[in-house]
Subunit: 529 residues, 2 copies
Amino acid sequence: MAGISRRDFLSKASLIAGSSYPAMIALGLLKSAPAEAFNLEGKGTGKHVVILGAGLAGMAAAYELKKLGYKCTILEARDRSGGRVWTVRNNTRETELDGSEQVAKLDEGLYFNAGAARIPHHHELSMHYCRELGVPLETYNNINEAGFIYNDGQGALANKRVRIREIHNDMRGYTNELLAKAVDQNALDLPMTTEDKETLIEYLRAEGELNPDKLYKGTSRRGYVVPPGAGDIAGKLADPFELMDIIKSGLIGPSFYNIGDYIFEQQMTMLQPVGGMDQISKAFERQVGKDIQFKSEVREIRKTTDGVRIVYADKGGNTKEVQGDYCICTIPLPVLSNITTDFSSAVQRAVDNVSYHQAGKIGLQFKRRFWEEDDHIYGGISRTNMDIHQIFYPSNDFLSKKGTLVGYYNFGDKAEKVGNLSLADREKLALKQGSKIHPQYIKEFESSFSLAWHKIRYSQGAFATYTTESRERYYPVLLQPDGPVHFAGEHTTYLTAWMAGAFESARRSVKNIHDRVMATQQAQVELKN
Amino acid sequence: MAGISRRDFLSKASLIAGSSYPAMIALGLLKSAPAEAFNLEGKGTGKHVVILGAGLAGMAAAYELKKLGYKCTILEARDRSGGRVWTVRNNTRETELDGSEQVAKLDEGLYFNAGAARIPHHHELSMHYCRELGVPLETYNNINEAGFIYNDGQGALANKRVRIREIHNDMRGYTNELLAKAVDQNALDLPMTTEDKETLIEYLRAEGELNPDKLYKGTSRRGYVVPPGAGDIAGKLADPFELMDIIKSGLIGPSFYNIGDYIFEQQMTMLQPVGGMDQISKAFERQVGKDIQFKSEVREIRKTTDGVRIVYADKGGNTKEVQGDYCICTIPLPVLSNITTDFSSAVQRAVDNVSYHQAGKIGLQFKRRFWEEDDHIYGGISRTNMDIHQIFYPSNDFLSKKGTLVGYYNFGDKAEKVGNLSLADREKLALKQGSKIHPQYIKEFESSFSLAWHKIRYSQGAFATYTTESRERYYPVLLQPDGPVHFAGEHTTYLTAWMAGAFESARRSVKNIHDRVMATQQAQVELKN
């Protein structure tokens, strides 16, 4: 596979008709999925790469560089690796930019993922590194029909919790009834035979569970008032909601679109490491931990005649410096923006002007898993138009006694508003709004730990968020090295916000640096001959 | 809660307006979910119940009876507990009714669930017993958009594998486009304001990811030809399939309706025990194992003047008998039909005439998990109209080296046809048809173990299947005890095929017997006074 990149290969393979790729695998032409191949040729021995940030991008870059013989030094401002891959456990400490300090009080074994929390099954490098580094994964149950939606507003179905499955199945019923009617009455100018129309109508009937008259009159898919049981308990259905009540109550409004169920990144299957997302950063740390200098805050990034010079404050607060041949800078742009550099003006402008998303999360520990015991919710999400936006239920440790859930995961204005509250008031808001969905909150609550990613010192944002304009104007600048400095991290990808972005960017930087080193070696060889 | 059944309670609670039940929990009026309450009063000490069958119904009945002081004897024809809860591992042996014998050759740690394989989150008693007996559960990823559909037939999209997400998203696109058009053109006589129509149209646009002209022109939801990556790799979309190609290729025909995704029993969240479904039967066996007599084949069920007498062949083939005050008979009806009894003619007719489903499964062990490594499939199902009907991928042990999948799970005619093949021919069929979806089968296959439930000696069917007529005519007869003999098992419920049916029926029988015993005790007390 040398000399042809994975993407080149995939794109060429897709030109060949039909099932050639699986056929090639079956025929043994490929040893394993090309997705994982990263077999760069040549050695970088003697070259020193200084990596800024021990998040996934930085550590993956070091991991791959070291396979190629490079020396790596990773400077990390925090006392832990992982960056925005961060699992909060008992005694986790954090002081936000405004000085508010927290120490997590969670029972042994309880945790929540404050940052990255789910892995799409098709994020090949995320899966690959878990496989290669032995990080066990389990299903992250992203979509749960038993979750609730709660619209704070007007209408017969507002201000109460409604099961997602009730709305999903009622809307499937009504919309398929309407479309079946339109097709049946030839109201649409469809270029179809009568037989095709019948096939379509039968499909719509199955989709909506329409009755023989093609009308939606409710379905067991939305659940029971009395579930079927033994003996003479045949089960009792509830009536469906009225379509007009659903519409007038805002339940098919923008806050409740099913986009999160459908988009490629969040479709099932999603996965998570057993024991917390930081199992991935810990796995990388086992590989490159010796090269990480923790509590080393970068102060200056300087281009020198033959490389790079990084000035930093070490854990004692002393100013130190480290020189290297190349640098991979994974520092989030809002943080980098406040570091002294001699970047080109184009780079500096890009660093200053790419926006980052605001996002907030709160972990709540409860005495018992009432969402499982009382409400039969095992993983998944409840959604609301309130400030808390979403409640995430854990996909692990089902049936155990205590549990944590994510009491809010919000963005933009909501994240800013809630993030600006005191820690106590964030907790109060999460409990007040959350208890409208789960009244059990009041009795079962034990402790909270909240964070506003835009107020977390070494992140200052959840993830880069490009507009069409900034993608055109600033993004290409960050893809080019500024002298010896290469940029990596999710913000240098089309996979912003995802760990896969960190990994893809790490490989990209490694390849670009290695290409330069190989070209120099080649030039030296040619010079000698 | 004494004196009011769970269902009475739920049904009464549902009469009280709105969120009274969660409110009651929050107020501490209920200690835990009433679902789990089974607090019968009084003691059955001195009474002996003979239970026929150590499946879940029989063991759960014994477990509950023993809490009440009863003596229990469980006769089990097999050398294992669990009945149709059966996990096949290395060296599992089975001889089907036609004499064909198999010994499973699976690597250490590999298994597949030959019978029950998934637990709906709302099956309260299944969840309850796992909680009470300490059986850890994990997500059973029943719905996976990355699975394939494969239609063996005519049309541009037939005879090739197509991702489920491609069809799902294309159909959501086209049907929502059509309905948006119909609503927009007032083709439907909708009693809606203009504003309501706009709300509905915007919802349809979000559902189908329609463009500003409300047309479906493809979506990233269906996946990429080249996925987005780092640097300048923005990703490349494939064109959607044409609606007419989908219809003409049979991909929205009956074989591929999405009913399995929608029905209440199979919606997410589904769960499975960590390590195989037999962890549940093993947990019960830890509780009541002392009372089980294995390899004891029931020959006669006799009503006596003061109870019941069961004649059986013990493991040495000797005829033995055991007497009891009551009997709970959980033997599947097709098996029971061949046992000598003095049941009433009505009962005997019911036993003889309730139909059971035919079902077949094959477990296939492969050298590597190519469905994960090559195809990014982690759990879920591929569907086809071929005889194999479905391929089930494991929801556990992701990323490990080897794996088993269920190469077919079929019913009715297909199960009969495949079940009638020799073991070697079943394997051949599974590999031949399966390799159309996964060409990797050919190179990676190691071993198989197949079964036809209707040919398994002590089951002779997968589960009871009632018609409207048989539910009316025979079912009520089985709900009444025939003298001392009470019937239990999934066939005595409206939860046929599910483990929850076994549990609900066990509790029902225990309650019915205990009510009789308590009534007798009460009568004796009154006689004395």
